[in-house]
């Protein structure tokens, strides 16, 4: 990470008796693309609105470029924002919409017209300057909203679920376009979404939010492969969770539904007899003999879904269900439900979930 540009320090926000954001701290580097990821109602929008200045934190500070902006009004922050509902001004043309921030800032006409043209080119809609918002598709409107936010050269770009009102195909192409424009301009960006795939695919770092807290901040790779809490592990990707009882914390040996399993790590401060949750991604498990992989558990095949190139198998270990995907091998008969099977995995792929 380069030098810190945006710093959110111990922010808390309450509306009356309900606390919506708590203990939120985050340092964002210049030019970084950060996603706030979390389920609906977890406080993503509220945190973003505090950065924008629409809400005032109940506690904590927000610093941009070394300057404390915690109590600055939104119209003094020089921030660009894109809203879920497009929010283009219906009475203005596309060009006038993009020029709005420039006019407010008092930029001379000729200069602002040039900048509008540049922005229209940036969003690949150079011909549409004279259209009104209602004459554009949702995807086009959202690109115009992006251009309008970027035209005054803001210090930060904030996007609140900008893609969720669009259909699936546009959503994917536009998120890539947003990312490439962001890289081209090198603008520090916060992108709010409840869609894990969206966050994983375009972010430098993801902040997973749960119940007003930042549960974990890390690269998509870290978030997916090394989730630090049970919530993160569950929310990002599909996860098989196994309940286990510690047999020997130091040696890392546990009991899963009557089977002994050796983990490759020290489980302290857990002690003998404590319950822990282990998690496995479906892609980390395979059917059959353990072979080079050392972890193995006996299971029963519960059901089999033939999906074409992939076969999704659900197995039971005691009361827990473990899903896994195997590739369809035409020379091999598919697994049969009700038969016993052995699950193989590398012990380092087993995650121990904090609660």
């Amino acid at each position: 990470m380069t030098e810190t540009y945006l710093s959110i320090q111990g922010v808390k926000k309450s509306f009356g008796p309900t606390t919506v954001v708590r203990d939120f701290s985050l340092d964002v580097g210049r030019g970084e693309f950060i996603s706030f990821l979390g389920p609906s109602g977890c406080g993503k929008t509220t945190m973003l609105r505090m950065v924008a200045g629409f809400e005032e934190p109940s506690e904590g500070r927000i610093v941009v470029g070394g300057k404390d902006v915690t109590h600055l009004k939104p119209n003094q922050r020089k921030i660009g924002m894109v809203f879920q509902a497009y929010a283009l001004f219906p009475n203005l043309t596309v060009a006038q919409n993009i020029a709005f921030g420039l006019r407010v800032a008092g930029m001379p006409k000729a200069e602002s017209a040039q900048r509008v043209q540049d922005m229209l080119k940036l969003i690949s809609l150079p011909q549409l300057g004279d259209r009104y918002p209602y004459q554009l598709s949702g995807g086009q409107q959202q690109r115009v909203a992006l251009a309008r936010a970027l035209a005054p050269k803001p210090r930060l770009l904030l996007l609140d679920e900008p893609l969720s009102a669009l259909d699936a195909k546009v959503r994917v192409s536009l998120r890539e376009e947003i990312r490439s424009i962001q890289k081209e301009l090198g603008i520090t960006t916060i992108f709010v979404t409840h869609d894990q795939e969206e966050a994983l695919s375009i972010s430098d770092r993801i902040v997973v939010m749960n119940n007003g807290r930042a549960d974990q901040a890390g690269t998509p790779f870290e978030i997916y492969n090394r989730p630090s809490t049970r919530f993160v592990a569950n929310f990002v990707g599909t996860l098989n969770v196994l309940e286990a009882r510690v047999l020997d914390a130091q040696a890392g040996s546990v009991d899963v539904a009557g089977q002994v399993l050796a983990l490759d790590r020290d489980l302290a401060p857990k002690r003998k007899g404590d319950m822990i949750s282990l998690a496995l991604r479906p892609e980390a498990v395979s059917l059959g003999r353990a072979g080079a992989r050392t972890g193995a558990l006996a299971a029963t095949i519960a059901d089999v879904h033939f999906l074409g190139s992939v076969i999704r198998v659900r197995t039971k270990i005691g009361d827990s269900t473990v899903s896994l995907d195997t590739f369809n091998d035409p020379t091999m008969p598919p697994p049969v439900s009700g038969t016993p099977a052995e699950l193989a995995f590398a012990p380092r792929d087993l995650m121990v979930l904090a609660d």
Partner: protein, 263 residues
């Protein structure tokens, strides 16, 4: 199907007749001033009457200021309530309805008691002051129509998000109201303005009791003392109102387009 259409047309025809026949009769009567033949004498008399010109002009100016005052009060208020205090909207709606319930005469007597020349706010001490009071009174009489029109206009846009979008682009309240809110409720403001104009042109009670040379008292005066001229005046008033409505229709066509009103 056919029968349904027949009854629809019949109802429409009856309604139109109910509306048009009295108008035609009034017109016919107004044209009978000269014995034995139709003429526009009554209209000539009315238009030639300097008091007609003065009172009509006075009321048009009063209407203009009433509309201005109404827009200045109602647009920011309705906007602010939608933006920040949606919970008190029912209260405001109730207040704006009061002028429909409280007779104008009560309002005027209140004014006369409160703003007499000995009061701390002696509006009635000068002619200008009384004019101002008249305009204020009119603005209150027009409040139910103006507020409702503007509030309906505001409902068609996402006031909060648009406001925030403008704020984050650096706009202050003045810019937001002038460049964003007003243009988007222009049609609504125009229809409110039209209603206000219609109310002010025909208003009698307030103007008469404040003793202002307005069109309403003039109409009443002519109506009580002449035969043919009142009919001519009625037709003229009707044409003026009708003309207003067409102008507003045309303005609406040229007004900025919006997502809520394609075409």
């Amino acid at each position: 199907m056919k029968a349904g259409k027949f009854w629809a047309w019949l109802t429409f025809g009856l309604g139109a007749a109910y509306f048009i026949i009295p108008l035609l009769a009034t017109m016919e009567f107004a044209m009978r001033m000269r014995r034995g033949t139709y003429s526009f004498d009554a209209f000539a008399v009315v238009f030639g009457d300097p008091r007609f010109q003065q009172t009509f002009g006075y009321s048009v100016v009063a209407a203009f200021f009433t509309i201005l005052l109404g827009v200045l009060i109602v647009v920011p208020t309705a906007y602010w309530i939608r933006l920040r205090m949606p919970h008190i909207r029912p209260v405001i709606e109730f207040i704006t309805l009061l002028p429909l319930v409280i007779p104008a005469i009560v309002i005027v007597f209140g004014y006369i008691r409160m703003y007499g020349s000995n009061s701390p706010l002696p509006f009635l001490g000068s002619a200008r002051g009384t004019d101002a009071l008249l305009v204020i009174g009119y603005a209150i009489l027009a409040l139910p129509y103006m507020y409702r029109a503007v509030d309906t206009g505001l409902r068609t846009i996402d006031v909060r998000t648009l406001t925030e979008a403008a704020q984050i682009l650096g706009a202050g309240w003045g810019t937001i109201i002038m460049r964003l809110i007003l243009p988007n409720v222009l049609i609504a403001v125009l229809s409110g303005a039209f209603l206000t104009f219609a109310i002010v042109i025909g208003e009698f009670t307030v103007a008469s009791l404040l003793n202002r040379p307005a069109f309403g008292p003039y109409l009443q005066n002519i109506g009580a003392n002449r035969a043919y001229e009142p009919a001519a005046l009625a037709v003229i008033t009707f044409v003026v109102t009708w003309g207003c409505m067409s102008v507003i229709q045309m303005l609406a066509r040229f007004a900025p387009k919006s997502a809520n009103r394609p075409d």
